[in-house]
Amino acid sequence: MNPDRRSFLLGTGKLLVLSTAASVAWEAIVAGRPETATNYTMTDHWWAMVVDIESCIGCGICLRACKEENDVPRMPQYFRTWVERYRVNPSDLEHPVVDSPNGGYDGFPGKGDPDPDAKHFFVPKLCNHCADSPCVQVCPVGATFVSPDGVVLVDKTYCLGCRYCVQACPYGCRFIDPRTSTVDKCTLCYHRITKGLTTACCETCPTGARQLGDLKNKKDPIHQFLLGHHVLVLKPQMATGAKVYYNGLDGSVR
């Protein structure tokens, strides 16, 4: 080893270490302090939703409201929430016939059930805001996270658009917004619920089939509802800690 190589390596090493630290520090300075919301303490809440299958009439108002409120692309493959129609013949419970034309955006107009022996019902779907989210786990940069109040959110200024989270969600709740090339999903109308309002879908549902609930608020009616009903989450075998509870969910629903 001659001394000039040694000093060259030392110099390069120092430059690398110092410039990395400086860039991280600079980023923190540029980012500044987060805006604090008035009268809302995140750690006081733990949000969930109940969906009553019996009450859903498949009108699609919820998802029209959602697309309007949250500026979701209007194309038929981008939804933060959607409604599925199930038709299940009791003699063949394992093969339900399911459809969701344009996510149920225009409801389910027209013809009666082609199978007169089948039972049919609607299943509204949205992000389950899982406590142990597989989508959060896989994000390589932590752009998606569970907020302290239990909502799975995405930092769009940080998302790489690698789509790993889309693959990891068992419920198909995520999509890539073609306008930003970043991932998009239900935020549980975070901009509304932190101001004391309910979500756009719950607000507009004409039958009250969707109810936002705060599991940390003892006075929230969600506690009474969960006590008095047999509820299920979707795909419980996935063990994701899903927080959208369905009342009257049929075993054929996937």
């Binding site: 190589r5 860039s23 493959q77 998302c159 790993y164 996935m238």
Partner: protein, 391 residues
Amino acid sequence: MESVLPAIQGFMYPNEMELQWGVLVVLYPFITGLVAGAFILASLERVFNVDAIKPTYRLALLTALAFLLVAPLPLQLHLGHPERSLEMYLTPHTVSAMAMFGFVYLWYLMVVLVLEVWLDYRKEIVLMWRESRGPKRWLYGAMALWSDNISPASLALDDRIGRALTVIGIPSAFLLHGYVGFIFGSVKANPWWSTPLMPIVFLFSAIVSGIAAVMLVYMVTAWWRERRFDMECLDTVARYLFYAFVVDFSLEMLDLIHRIYEADESFRALDFMVHTSLYTSQVILQILVGTVVPLSMLGLVQLVRMGEKTRRRIYGTAGLLTLIGIFAMRWNVVIGGQLFSKSFLGYTVYKMEWATREGLLPAILLLILPFVILAVLIKLLPPWGSQRHGA
């Protein structure tokens, strides 16, 4: 996108209709597999002293390096925001399998491959530095880090460090590709991917593809330089290819049989897919053309005495078919895993685009690029013969 809609069969969750990972993501495991496999072949000679394959040692290292340099490019092209990819180094999400890619990659590139190639070539680099003039002199000088010490003692030290690096390199190669398998195998939402066998299957298919690739590169370069093929070397390489292939095929069949016998909730949907949209790429290309045929050919050479010309032809054909088969395997994993709905009630199709950012054209260019890099590397660092290896 609109064109995909009528092709949907049954029911898919609305957000599922569009495929998220296309042909570029197929390239990623294919290319890293070639890297890991080529390195493991090289280490056979270095660590396990399989002398017969010496002529492929440096070629294997350079092939691995050429492919490794290209490995992150398809991912980079695929990202919605490539300019943010550096965040994976600066603020990695430590529980994300994907976040570790950058670190595994850098470790492998810098610590294992570049250093090993450098140590192995250091003497020649210094000699070329001394002999050449003009910009070439500057280039080789920079490559030698302007140190011209090639005393026997320092070369012996190089050799010792090189051997130690190869020993570290083997688990690193396992890590590099086992890890790629883990990225898919750990997605519990997707039954086509989610199996603990995935990293092991990926690893062995990587070894198979890497050996096949180096064998072909050796044959092509020998033919190009109008040299005689070292048949002892080729026979040995082909024998190791056969062994690795037997293990790989057994693992894949174990996975298949296990799925069929267990027949869990996803089985019917996956079975339907394998018999329809994946039939050509899975049953015909991957299993028959890409595995059974080359495996039988290589097996036959082990059993029956054959002339040199026949063996050469068999190795060439089997190598090519193997690469096609392994590429099909990557395709079936990546694309196949997205063709069915996670509701198990429907199927979509993959419509590959042509000259778009994630289309077939960039994929073809990315497959040609490693060979261009390899040609440059061979020009810069001729792999034919070294002090350590004799002629």
